[in-house]
Symmetry: C2
Subunit: 323 residues, 2 copies
């Protein structure tokens, strides 16, 4: 079973076919960065059109059983998530509404301060807000997973403590391997995993050691070392694959409508666009290479199965329904 | 099994308890008259709060099986509906979104012309519009029932013809028994029932012979005669109970935001508010009286069971899922 903990591609029949070729049984896909409630619903409507147009390639995922159903029918189950809580605006009631519409992950912040938590690019991290505590409780109640991938350290640690259910960092790597602002320090990974949570290893070049030039050996050694340090059961893949996106999309991800200035995020004025993916991970057909890479660095078959999808499957089964 | 095909009460614990006392296993409740998309979602959020607050009295209904589940656990299943298509605004994609949120009935118009169909108070009835045809097809696809209770004759007959699945008139009576503008002429009832559709008999005084003074004998004789003429299997109850509502609500129902003048609808300047209910049907505890009344006018037990809930149950089972 192969499950990817995060992608945000420029979706097309080509990509859906590549998911099938790559044997990817389920993907958590981002449907909002800075969208309002209505805009996020429009993005759900677009997915409904894709489900109607490509019923033999993809199917809507609501529960872990849908991953099995997708696998048995040769399709990929698509699970929805937000990288920012902007779609719930200031209305806690929208948590249950979006859960009913199939949303299964929500980041409490995206780089900046949100109504709920601090983002990883802020100077100051005030931790989980008053509304944030209420929303975490409501997310726990309905089965919407707290994702802290783009949140700041204190906020992430507090979220792991406050949440009554395990939380996730769907896409990031250990900071000590690649010291990007988005990667997670050991104490953050410890807080998330000790509370039963999951981290998905990212293949986004800005999160990799040596960026686009990162070797598959280095990536797989990092996985083996992290799994060894914190427990294999807490890790999966969260590729952060942004396949076929024009650079205007990374600009939207970074600046939304919150600034009139250019913000390069993890990029720079010299390299403002999406970075090139490592040559060994270009698209969904390359998961087999990672599997092989993990074997090469000494992981056994049950560890490899767990990291390539088994752990996410268990996490989905335990966290997508009401408490 | 007792199912009510329409209510719009000022919901409270008292009313939910009366539903239990009255043995009402399921109710189709109105959640929008003139609401925008966002406003209709706010009304859904309010219902989510009631489900959370009164889990032992009510439960959300999505399928016919939920009626059985409610019955077995001593609760009432609540099914959502719109009396106007205003919540989908001009966006056909919202049909599937609302179905996912649990909406199971939508009127194509409410008294006035809508984007989809003509309402029963318009001078001219142009029938189903271009968008109306598209929306009927989409409603058919996902399992959202076309309700023509407040629509004009031609529009209703056309909807019955265009729809590939049976349609409903959830709350109205035969025009020849009580010639209100809202009641349905024989050719309309024929079009709906011949296409497999359902009509729920209304207890709203403006739809009754002699209004609030209507006798239970007259009401039950009308049911027996109508069932005899068109086939028992096409009829149920759709009480249109508006219990405990302040008169400001009937004003909202009639005028929404479409006029600055007062529109008395079925009322008058002399009696602008909600009319008093007949003394034999005050609230949900009075369904047993109708059952007894149907027995008195000679219906047999299987006919009574069908009209009090069995027919709606079958209709729910056949029409709430994807085609």
């Amino acid at each position: 079973m192969r499950i990817d903990g995060l992608q945000y591609a420029n979706w097309s029949e080509k990509i859906f076919r590549q998911m099938r070729e790559g044997g990817v049984d389920a993907v958590h896909v981002t449907i909002a960065y800075h969208e309002s409630f209505r805009e996020a619903v429009l993005n759900l409507e677009r997915w409904n059109q894709w489900f109607e147009t490509y019923p033999n390639l993809i199917t809507k995922g609501l529960t872990a059983d849908d991953v099995k159903r997708a696998r048995e029918t040769g399709r990929t189950a698509i699970f929805f998530g937000f990288q920012n809580p902007s779609p719930i605006e200031d209305d806690i009631g929208l948590v249950e509404i979006f859960h009913a519409l199939g949303v299964r992950f929500m980041q409490l912040s995206y780089n900046n301060q949100s109504l709920l938590a601090t983002g990883c690019y802020e100077e100051e991290d005030c931790g989980i807000t008053r509304m944030g505590r209420q929303v975490i409780r409501e997310m726990n109640r309905v089965g919407l997973v707290v994702d802290m991938s783009h949140s700041a350290d204190r906020s992430t640690i507090e979220a792991a403590e406050i949440s009554e259910r395990p939380i996730a960092v769907t896409h990031a790597n250990p900071h000590e391997w690649a010291p990007a602002l988005r990667n997670k320090k050991a104490e953050v990974i410890r807080a998330v995993t000790e509370a039963g949570g999951m981290l998905g290893f990212s293949l986004y070049p800005h999160h990799l050691k040596d960026n686009s030039k990162c070797t598959i050996e280095s990536f797989c050694e990092m996985i083996a070392g992290t799994a060894d340090a914190f427990g294999t059961e807490h890790f999966g893949i969260g590729s952060d694959l942004c396949q076929d996106q024009p650079d205007s999309v990374v600009e939207w991800m970074r600046t939304g409508r919150w600034t009139k200035e250019i913000d390069y995020g993890e990029g720079s004025a010299a390299a403002p666009g999406f970075p090139p993916m490592p040559d060994w991970f270009q698209d969904n057909r390359d998961f087999a290479k990672i599997e092989k890479g993990l074997r090469s660095v000494g992981l056994n078959e049950s560890e490899i199965k767990a990291i390539m999808g088994g752990n996410w499957y268990r996490f989905f089964a335990e966290n997508f329904g009401p408490m």
